[in-house]
Subunit: 402 residues, 2 copies
């Protein structure tokens, strides 16, 4: 099969990550090796940039810039949260044709995989020859087909390092500390907090995930039980925790109900959930010092906290997508899949777009304890190599003077 | 003057920092060099540990542990927020006498300097021979006599790196982003956000400090003006901002009024201020996407984000306090003072306890712009060497396709 010749268009979508630019630069550097790919265009702000013909010429960026951008958090092409309508798709094709785009790469999560799928289906219907690839990313780690996704490792490292320090802060000053972590439907990132534990007394002592129904009475009982044993309590809570009916706790208890184009409620960029839970503990127990922090956008965009494994894999996913396209594969999403064995190893496999699109992958049952308020050793074994080494912590032996 | 012989007691107080253990270990390692100092005791949780005779033997900690503890954030001896009453002081002396303590070191901020001062005065009144030293620390950077304080550099680095990433996140997704930063009465840490700027379009675009009265109408006007120019806006806000009457905005607008033993209102560990400001923008403008994050305890305790200069200076402050005591100086606080010159250099000087105690140092006028919504170049020149090098950021040249 002869590979078609034409231009390439790449864009980024959804929430940024610390390594999403690794995937972008991985794709660009691979594309520059192949004569079949003429121009390399970047659309600014995802499909919005295609619709507006807001395109930049990525072949004019220097090698030095590409290297620096790869190491820079957030989406260097800008991002968007917009789901294309059928009318959008028609408009997008007009632009693709106009610029002779034959290679299209869209970096994003499951919403973006869905967008890529829709664009690909429209291309097929229109008999327009197009290589159409989704390049996975999301700190939520919730894409099907993937062992894990680029962005999760670095966000997990941030969360773990935050908990390592916050646990020590809680040892120093006592009381109950609640930390709210991103992850709308999947608890992987919240669970990564458990990597912070260095010994059996360390927090987080409780971990609440969107995969299990959150019940306020059980929560209060759990906290009291930990405080009785440890004299303090550090808690990891997913922003997406819901009650037994599936209603997010933040919606149930607060006023904020802003939704985006994908029908998602605003959970991030507000401290409301943390404050709700802290208030519940304050009013329903005699614990004097209760504090809540919401890690917010720092989890995905903090400059200078990257998992090396995550960075390398993110680069590889972008590179592999272009290689697959050049090899003649018409479409797909590049998934990271783990190779069974003693040592951590992964491979980058092409999977169908539809198999990644839209639906969310959740924490498997074996990663969650029976009580639904902690993770298991199986999760820690799974996540540790992705997050990579963490700072060493020193504690005094504390030999008491008689 | 013959140096007295006896035991040493050291403790930590107030909010932890990323380098407060450097000061602790600096003091311990110096003390181990001097035969005059027999036992080295650590009180757990500050003066509370003295009152409870909850002391540990620090000479029994291995060199390896001491090195690791020095590099570990938060207060390894535990901390406390308790101001001693006259009755407490009497009880403290009983303990000091009982354990033949002749060298007392208290690591903390201005509240802790005040505590040290009170203990020292009581010792003098009782004719009890005691070397009594305060070892400065505070991320707020608000101690008088000091050019800057240990802890500020590392917290400033965290804040700057957070803003570097968050500014890129805001470029990618647009809208208005508010970040609430610690600093009850002094704006230094909030101001450190400005170190994140790499070019003239970068945020934070607005910086609100407790040194200037916060006025909601001006705030909204400022935000609209930035959005008109930049199409987006990133804002750094101190948790301690007050109105013209000195009432904290969080108290004015919210319900939470919890106070600690020093009469301080709870500003941290809640997302309320960020949510109040975000809500004000949402309701009073047509800006659709408004988000707020509160950096919270991560600023002082995040594991793995330390300014090297800050770490070294923190160690030196602890070491110097012990050297001064051994040299026969009866009491004092060790201040970091900058040496005038082209190149950044500091010296560690003994200053009177009273001159550091209680009162807060504020941002000098030359560090704040005329409009009261940004810092000046003078501040950036002052803070850059303390915070140290920041990660490099890559941005595309973005050459548009015609």
């Amino acid at each position: 099969m002869k590979t078609k010749s034409g231009n390439m268009l790449i864009a980024q979508s959804g929430g940024p990550t610390a390594v999403i630019n690794q995937s972008l630069v991985g794709a660009i550097l691979e594309a520059k090796k192949h004569a079949e790919i003429k121009k390399i265009y970047g659309a600014l702000h995802g499909i919005q940039g295609i619709l507006d013909e807001n395109l930049i010429d990525l072949k004019q960026e220097s090698s030095e810039t590409l290297d620096l951008v790869a190491q820079t958090p957030s989406s260097a092409l800008g991002s968007v949260r917009r789901k294309p309508t059928p009318a959008d798709c028609t408009a997008i094709f007009a632009v693709l044709k106009k610029y002779d785009i034959r290679y299209f790469f869209y970096i994003g999560g499951n919403d973006s995989a869905e967008t890529t799928y829709i664009i690909n289906e429209e291309a097929k219907k229109a008999h327009y020859e197009l290589s159409c690839f989704h390049i996975c990313k999301t700190i939520d780690n919730d894409l099907r087909q993937n062992d894990h996704t680029p962005g999760f490792g670095s966000a997990g490292k941030f969360v773990a390092q935050a908990f390592m320090g916050d646990n020590l802060d809680n040892i120093a000053l006592g009381g109950v500390k609640i930390n709210i972590i991103m992850g709308r439907h999947a608890g992987f990132l919240t669970a990564a907090a458990a990597l912070a534990r260095q010994d059996e007394t360390d927090g987080p002592h409780l971990v609440y995930l969107p995969e299990r129904a959150f019940e306020m009475d059980s929560f209060i009982a759990d906290v009291l039980s930990v405080v009785e044993k440890q004299g303090r309590c550090v808690i990891a809570v997913s922003e997406g925790i819901c009650d037994a009916d599936g209603t997010p706790i933040i919606v149930k208890e607060a006023e904020s109900k802003e939704v985006d184009a994908h029908g998602n409620v605003q959970l991030s960029g507000t401290g409301a959930l943390g404050d709700i839970l802290a208030e519940a503990i304050k009013t329903r127990t005699h614990i004097a010092r209760v504090r809540a922090d919401t890690f917010g956008y720092l989890q995905r965009s903090f400059a200078g906290c990257v998992s090396e494994v995550d960075a390398q894999e993110a680069f590889k996913v972008g590179e592999t997508a272009v290689k697959e396209a050049i090899a003649g594969t018409p479409d797909g999403s590049i998934a990271i899949q783990r190779i069974d064995g003693e040592k951590y190893a992964v491979e980058f496999n092409r999977v169908p777009l539809k198999s990644v699109a839209k639906e969310t992958r959740h924490m498997p049952d074996e990663f969650i304890n029976a009580a639904g308020n902690d993770v298991t050793q199986a999760f820690l074994d799974y996540a540790a190599p992705i997050v990579g080494p963490l700072p060493k912590i020193g504690k005094f032996a504390r030999i008491l003077v008689k």
